[in-house]
């Protein structure tokens, strides 16, 4: 899995969770957790309003 979330930039809004097609993300209070269902599709990185996510395809 090659998704990196910059937790210092993230504002725990959950937008990335809402678009993840594989349900790999979860917003747990003030941080986002990713599990290994991630397919590196990159949608979460695209939607993040501040660019806190990096996905290496």
């Amino acid at each position: 899995m090659s998704i990196k979330i910059n937790r210092y930039k993230c504002g725990y809004c959950g937008a990335c969770v809402g678009v993840c097609p594989s349900g790999a993300l979860e917003l747990v209070e003030t941080w986002v957790e990713a599990n290994d269902c991630c397919t590196s599709c990159g949608l979460c990185a695209k939607i993040c309003p501040v660019g806190a996510i990096e996905v290496n395809k």
């Binding site: 504002g11 725990y12 809004c13 959950g14 937008a15 969770v17 809402g18 678009v19 993840c20 097609p21 349900g23 979860e26 917003l27 747990v28 209070e29 949608l43 695209k46 939607i47 993040c48 309003p49 501040v50 660019g51």
Partner: protein
């Protein structure tokens, strides 16, 4: 926490709180869980709400009202301004809320109605037996629990998982979500009774920028752009540019990020033992992004249907489908109309938007109803708005009433 309830509501936002309150009032044994430590915080909202329907759910209280609005102004890309004031919206416009306090007041109501409330309690999965939802797995202070119920209401907002766990695909494509950043800005000169909307592809591609007053010198200033337009420039970049250009003296005292579903109704909002409400059911308005009132309306309907089902002892999709029918024939209709408008709107160029605004410059708004306004718009811009002709026909023929939507944000 007990091991069994009539109803478990997941999510302590407006949808969940109203569902739990109404269900408790109807005599159900209700548990409401909220994963966050504090109800309503962090805020993910511009906090604008129309007055219509609000008092069906809660008595307006100055403790959570920051501004009482008398009108709104819409700015097209070239700066043409269209003003709509109280007179034209029928004397009732909207409030800007303090959602931290508002959301808590709603949950307070539901607790007083008899529901059990647990914060810092996160649903982590559904208990399913032969495809039927019969409770949740939850984590409270790091401990795992299994809690059973006859029905579960998923009111877990935009990042909803409850529907997905039951096999309802609620994931949103970037074209189905507005990605937003907002600042609470102080030290600025604004009109405390007017909310402003700015349109344009340079300002907010396929979205809009808003300035909602929160008192004399304070406002929520935010922008939402369509997810598919986000990339090199993100919501935060558009907002920062606007702040530099228009409010350089403003001081930011809070930051809010968020995603608003603008997909319109999803195919299915119930399954055996499960009902979805509010943002979890994608019931926010596709044009404005407003979802507070819709979530509350849906929560109320869901509670009533759940109470009937429990009385009958039948929690199957067949019985719960009553919820589908009821919400789709009320709020669902407006959402569908808004979706058609949104699909048209996102294709507009800045020139088109200027054109629309200019065609209203000679219109006397004080004597117009919203219906007349739409009609005037259509008459002057037939070619541009041709895709919406069905909607205008319905509006003019009164087949479609703006029951919930007497102004811009809901």
């Amino acid at each position: 926490m007990k091991e069994m309830y009539d109803l478990i509501v997941v999510g302590g936002g407006p949808g969940g709180a109203i569902a739990a309150k109404n269900a408790a009032e109807l005599g159900l044994d209700v548990l409401l869980i909220e994963k966050r430590q504090e109800i309503g915080d962090p805020v993910r909202c511009a906090e604008g709400v129309s007055k219509i329907c609000l008092s069906d759910h809660i008595e307006p209280d100055p403790r959570w009202i920051c501004a009482d609005l008398t009108g709104s102004r819409i700015y097209s890309p070239d700066g043409t301004m269209v003003e709509m004031s109280e007179e034209m919206s029928g004397g009732e416009v909207g409030y800007v809320l303090e959602r931290k306090v508002f959301d808590r007041a709603l949950v307070d109501q539901c607790a007083r109605a008899g529901a059990e409330v647990r914060v810092k309690t996160r649903a982590t999965g559904l208990i399913m037996e032969k495809g039927v939802v019969c409770g949740i797995y939850a984590m409270y202070l790091g401990e795992e629990y299994e809690i059973r119920s006859k029905i579960v209401i998923g009111a877990d907002g935009m990042e909803s998982k409850v529907g997905r766990w039951a096999g309802i695909d609620t994931s949103l494509k970037p074209t189905d979500m507005e990605t937003c950043v907002q600042y609470l800005v102080t030290n600025i000169d604004i009109d405390p009774q007017f909310c402003d909307f700015y349109l344009g592809n340079e300002i907010a591609p396929a979205g809009y920028l808003w300035v909602f007053p929160k008192g004399e010198n304070m406002a929520n200033i935010g922008v939402g752009i369509l997810g598919s337009k986000s990339g090199d420039h993100r919501a935060i970049d558009y907002l920062d540019k606007f702040m530099r250009d228009v409010y350089p003296e403003g001081r930011i005292i809070e930051m809010v990020y968020g995603g608003v579903p603008v997909s319109g109704p999803i195919e299915k909002t119930v399954s055996d033992g499960l009902i979805l409400v509010g943002d979890a059911a994608r019931q926010s308005d596709p044009i404005t992004g407003g979802g507070i009132i819709n979530a509350m309306e849906a929560g109320k309907i869901a509670a009533e249907v759940a109470a009937d089902a429990i009385k009958k002892g039948d929690y199957t999709t067949d019985t719960l489908n009553e919820y589908e029918t009821l919400w789709r024939s009320t709020i669902g209709k407006e959402i569908e109309y808004s979706l058609v408008v949104k699909e048209t709107f996102i294709k507009f160029t800045d020139k088109d938007l200027n054109h629309l605004a200019q065609s209203l410059s000679n219109v006397n708004f004080y004597s117009l109803s919203l219906k007349d306004l739409l009609y005037a718009l259509f008459k002057a811009n037939k070619k541009l708005l041709w895709d919406l002709r069905g909607l205008f026909r319905d509006v003019v023929n009164n087949n479609f009433e703006f029951k919930y939507k007497k102004n811009q944000f809901d």
